[in-house]
Symmetry: D3
Subunit: 335 residues, 6 copies
């Protein structure tokens, strides 16, 4: 991997939407205001990485209007480089949205997407000057949401993964299957075409079964994926939801031929489950940047857990939170 | 029972009050604003039924002022027919109120009523044109709160139950004993006079003991009530409160001579325990409208559980919530 | 005109959107929550009419999801009959949106629409059973927004105006030109084709100049329009905005051959300028229902003024507000 | 007048209610929360006096429940002595309420009272140990609201005014006619019986005409009242409301035989017009305590003006506000 | 101990700060508003005692500005006598602050202090007229925070404890070690100098080990402390935090030679853990005022538990809450 | 001036504080939450410049804690380069604060500072690598607040102005006298020492009189200042406050020997007067970057006016706002 003195530790690309959530545990039909933040898997990864000290950029396509600027502002607020966002003046360009309704057992939390025809869904490979960007980046991270957005986004995904490889970037990919966007069949076909260009794969046992027809335990799956597609690093995440207000999180890791089993998952008091997987990805990549598999697994799991205790998709985790997490198992007030 | 093509599946009658609740788990003495919704057992039943597809009307008496209109607006918002509300221009007419303070173990939630002399407490049988309404209704539902409000309300209760019977409506009654309104002695006497006119009774084991001197388990109580008063359908509810933020709910059902034991109660993450019994009643009556005892019991229990996860007395449950409830026992985000 | 005993005094048809407004005079980029209400010219007319005692229905097309139900709930809350809404289960169906930013002089208030591809933009004439509805309605009201939404909506507009005429409904039409939706050329051509089917036209001097090439003062314009297209009733509105927090409103009226000049406009303290024109239309139509031109003009102007003092597009005006308005010109607290 | 070393400068007695106001300029029908403060003319006078350095007590009757304690807490927060409040454990005892809806021109602000049968309306003279209190008080202040509440409150008013006189307290009375509580005839009769026991009268020109059949300008009215009833100090207030968000206030004063004309009224930016008269009374009485008519008039007018710039009935005015008011006529930010 | 007819049951002295808390479980970096209450160990004790019927005063030093008055207002609101507060007009005088961020397992709640150079940190013994106050007080309560604030505060602590002893007040002291303010070494030295002047000590097992080198169980520690320093009453508190939203609390008590073991701790649903120790102290001192060790221990534990269910440092506990607590172990709604 | 291809158009340096404002026009003593934003003259200039397209950096000193990060986040959100902020881990380091209370005529808005001993007040020249920064900057902007903060800040001000000059940066300085921080005598002495190093001076007529003993009109003052100190560009601002909710703003400009008189000031509806001068400075400097005096004056005045219509010190102005401002004088809703 490229060393520490490059301009960007991690570049991510993808769509970010306005997240409009019913406040105070109300239902959407019931409320008279909505809490507005932003959400999008790849920006969340970049923001979480920036929060713990990595240099990150996020690339997307946004309309030149208050909603588009809102998204970019929130990325900048986190310390993410937004200078490569593609801005459009098309009066019909829109930011995608999703509505969120927080649940309580036995009523699950729910998301309602309104993201069709967003400006981001019209991203193309050609509109960004990759040859200036990629040589200065150590890792390029994408997710399986992008190829599902549109044909141009699928093309962009293939082209960017290849281009990143050629520029000696590590290529990271989080499968992140979204059934609202495409069928399992289409998704699997796409994923299988992408795998040969991926260095770091974030997936889970169930997706490995349905998309790659893998069997056995996670270490066996890792061996097979690694053999077949030359993937160096594979994380298998597992987030349990015994209830809405409590959860558990753990992941195992295959790293350059070695398998690290998932540590025991501790109970989490869940404020906002959204973005847990992206927080994991951020912690994982921080460890990869340090080329330390144990750090990668520990940080990934820590960030996924803490992320669920904070409101919004972005986790707002700082280094002192990780220190606290690893040093303390007492939950009195820290003064 | 009358079939499906009548104007109203269920007509309910009773008082609805403004519910003024301290927000954000504050105490009443501590807060500078109050969350305003509406609450009243019989409107809540009608609203919850409308939410899952039944045609309902609610009848009451309200002052022609913003607070009175607020109550009617909220009923209309739920799809309840409010065209038979009796409006008064008496400048002293008022909407009853109750103040709510949410608790946390070991401090229980508390209600403080301020409902004396409300417009609804002066309802009379004569001011509504029942002979036009009842022939078009399949079920008439009332509760044991109404006869406790005033003498005129007690008279209205007796007269309406009898009139409904005569028009071949099924008569449903939820005991709902309120110790602030009358003594156990007065209540018991009233209830025992009403029972012969009731087809569907919602009660619980403890009330059967103290008001009807019944003994034994719920199935034995059901047999005795059914024998003595010719009640076709009897539900015995049981809501446990091991803590304030968690609960359990279950009910058993006697239906045309058959006893259906209560299913095991699952844990509920409680947002707002208010209205659980009314949500049960709505689910039960939906099943009765379909003349299906298993549906009645399952829907009643499901709605009582989900109702506790939503803010306010009214449950805001829609058909997809029930589908979710019966199909899933995983509490991850539904996307 | 049909007399008072029909089912609906006024039926309106059109799109209603979620209105997402930055709270507390914040800018959109700055806020962390949005106030959610609903807005759409034709529903606002129906709601405002219902608020002052008319029987109204609103027809539109909505997705079967929380956002669609939110819109219908808010219509019901106002007492508008929503039973003829067309519901779609298409998972891609969406409710249109608009974002609102309140201004202060010298910064005007702004609207940002995100309404393309809404469920309502796919309304068709065929999906509603007009032959059951129109005979029971006295007035049918539409606006010039609907034909601009899509081809199917334009077709629906033409067909409905004709069908309403045939059923002896009075046809009311508010030009309501929206430059974001179509060009002046396209709009003018459409309007000119619609005029022969219109009984009641709401317009203004500037639109009469640019779309109908009229000249002279409003009374001269009225004569010409009336002569050419047989329009019985024409209102010319005039809303001034000398600042953002203060305004003036007045309108003149041509009614069955007689011209009523605009009364002097008084100063308005503006809370929310949105929906003033729709409030005028409601007041006007109330007067038309009573076939009283002076009432029509006075109520229209009163409602347009009061409407600007209340938050949201819908005016929440009740009969006592009108009494107050006409009786009092003192602004002390009414106790 | 008694000198400065008494326990209480001013004792006031009267009802205080919960004030439930629609927030953010919403209408009552429209809002989902209400801002809760307290309001009652006599407590407001005592609180405003305490805020500018006088020692005051307020006497009333309250239920021993959170709403009753809320009222007493808010009085204590202002530094008012609440130790003589009469507390009742009657489970039916209630705190009176009023609902507030803020207006905007041409829609006036509105109050809706719900105060019948309040605990305060059952106050009696006998339940307070006046012989211990009155010798230690310099001024006793009441208003014309109290005798209108109930027969027992009317009796209390008569008895207390007489008892205060006997103990050499100055007796202050603000007419404060409330048409919702009694007729002009009943009020006038009562006022005329009370006048002989009053040293300080707060009234206005219109009330002097309708209740005391006075004519002429304010100085002539003062001479006549003073001659007939031996009233030492008479204030004639005049609050204008050219709009809802702007106002003017002025008052003239008769003080021991001398007439002080009203200074010119300056424009006020009105946040909350409620309590302006009570703020005037507080300023006036502060001047009376210093036996300085010019101070009395200036402080009264200043406090009435500033009071309208603060949210709630109580004015939250501190001594530095008065310094600012008298020294500055520039409205830049004070840093 | 002095009997019941003294002016003050308990006088406390110490700093109170503004408490600025991120709302709705947000992180501090994330929020756009802060909830403002007040917090300070000794005022909290006085307020909690006043809430359950004791006569208390609180003494401190505050700037004459809105923030200083805010603190005093909130003390008065609770019924605490604030007449002995020392007010300063120094323009640089400030109220100390602390920022609060509520956590969720595995992220603990956090406090960030900004209290240096507060007006309270400059309190001196000389500026209060103790010889007028102490003879009228039964108990004087302080905490180990005060001597850590500054040299003058340390001097004040020593002098006041001695002066209180001389006036036959019972001297109560809560160790309350704050590591941000001083080292363990400095604190221990100070505490050991103070112990001989203390009658009532609130501490815990861990502090007894580190500051007083005690060993063994709590009863053995009590014997040793009591023997060595003649301390009559010693409470050992134990608050567990297995998670952030749930907790347990218990304490044991040494009282005039008798040891009362800690009762079993029940689970608490934690709204706000802040102030639990101060609520314990208040309950304990209430029992001491009645000279009843069992009441002292029960009330202390009850108040510490209930305190954690209410927002803010002050517990807002009233006598009916204690009745509920001791009579009920069911958590249904109390109507 | 350096041309357009430098890294930073404008670098500013100064303190930024947390701004804690009472919400909804409440008084500080009255509110239970505070709105938190950030405020500091020099960051506001940088942010406003970034908002209209300039490349800016802001330099300051902040503690490594949530409050320090909050300030930096908000700067980043605006697109300001924060990479040169000096971070301190001193546990006693604090962010300065100010409390804001919004007024209404006749009560002015008020600020209460709590900024002593802030981390920023300990800035030094030495801790920043100026030799790397200044060559890449076109303008360096400071204000007269910084030298008033502390001796080290005064030294930093002198040293930085000189160093910026040496590196051919244009030096901009806004006098911004703060009477709470130092005397007129000390300020004047400092200002007079700084003037020779300044290229762009923002001041007003009154300050020129009291600090530089200038007489005559603004053009005469400009000539004298320019002659004596070789200042190229001098702006004389004039913000009027006839009331709290309305204002006027204008400024005149001396630019390279030519005087541009102030255009007539139009009425502003004032949401938040804070930061108007900083918005002017940003507009002025934008014009200076384009070396266009007319643009400088127009943009300055436009931004100062619009800035008062937005909440917070930072103006959130975007290029479309300026287009609107210059093209339109009608205040209807822009759709």
């Amino acid at each position: 991997m490229k060393q520490n003195n490059y301009r960007h530790d991690v570049i991510t690309l993808g769509e970010t939407m306005l997240r409009l959530a019913a406040p105070s545990k109300q239902r959407l039909e019931q409320c008279s205001s909505l809490d507005m933040t932003v959400g999008g898997s790849e920006l969340t990864v970049a923001a979480n990485l920036a929060g713990i000290g990595a240099k990150t950029a996020w690339i997307s396509r946004l309309p030149e209007n208050p909603m588009g600027r809102f998204v970019a502002n929130k990325a900048r607020e986190q310390g993410v480089d937004t200078s490569r966002i593609v801005w459009t003046n098309d009066p019909d360009a829109r930011v995608g949205l999703y509505f969120v309704e927080m649940g309580a057992k036995p009523r699950p939390s729910r998301v309602y997407y309104d993201r069709r025809n967003s400006a981001a869904s019209r991203m193309t490979f050609a509109e960004t000057n990759w040859s200036a960007l990629l040589p200065e980046a150590r890792i390029v991270h994408m997710s399986g949401i992008t190829p599902a957005l549109s044909e141009s986004c699928a093309g962009l995904t293939f082209d960017l993964l290849k281009a990143a490889r050629e520029e000696q970037c590590l290529v990271s990919f989080d499968l992140n299957y979204r059934s609202k966007l495409w069928s399992e069949g289409d998704a699997g076909e796409c994923y299988r075409r992408l795998l040969p260009d991926i260095d770091i794969l974030i997936t889970n046992r169930y997706d490995c079964e349905r998309f790659f027809s893998l069997k056995g335990d996670e270490s066996e799956m890792a061996v097979e994926l690694s053999d077949k597609y030359s993937i160096r690093i594979i994380a298998f995440t597992s987030g349990e939801a015994p209830a809405v207000w409590s959860g558990r999180w753990s992941a195992s890791l295959w790293y350059d031929g070695e398998f690290f089993a998932a540590p025991e998952a501790e109970e989490i008091e869940v404020v906002d489950r959204f973005g847990a997987g992206d927080a994991f990805a951020a912690g994982l990549l921080k460890g990869v940047l340090e080329d330390d598999p144990e750090t990668a697994l520990q940080l990934g799991n820590a960030m996924a857990a803490i992320s669920q205790t904070t409101f919004g998709d972005i986790a707002w985790i700082r280094e002192h939170d990780l220190t606290d997490y690893f040093e303390n198992k007492n939950f009195n007030i820290r003064r």
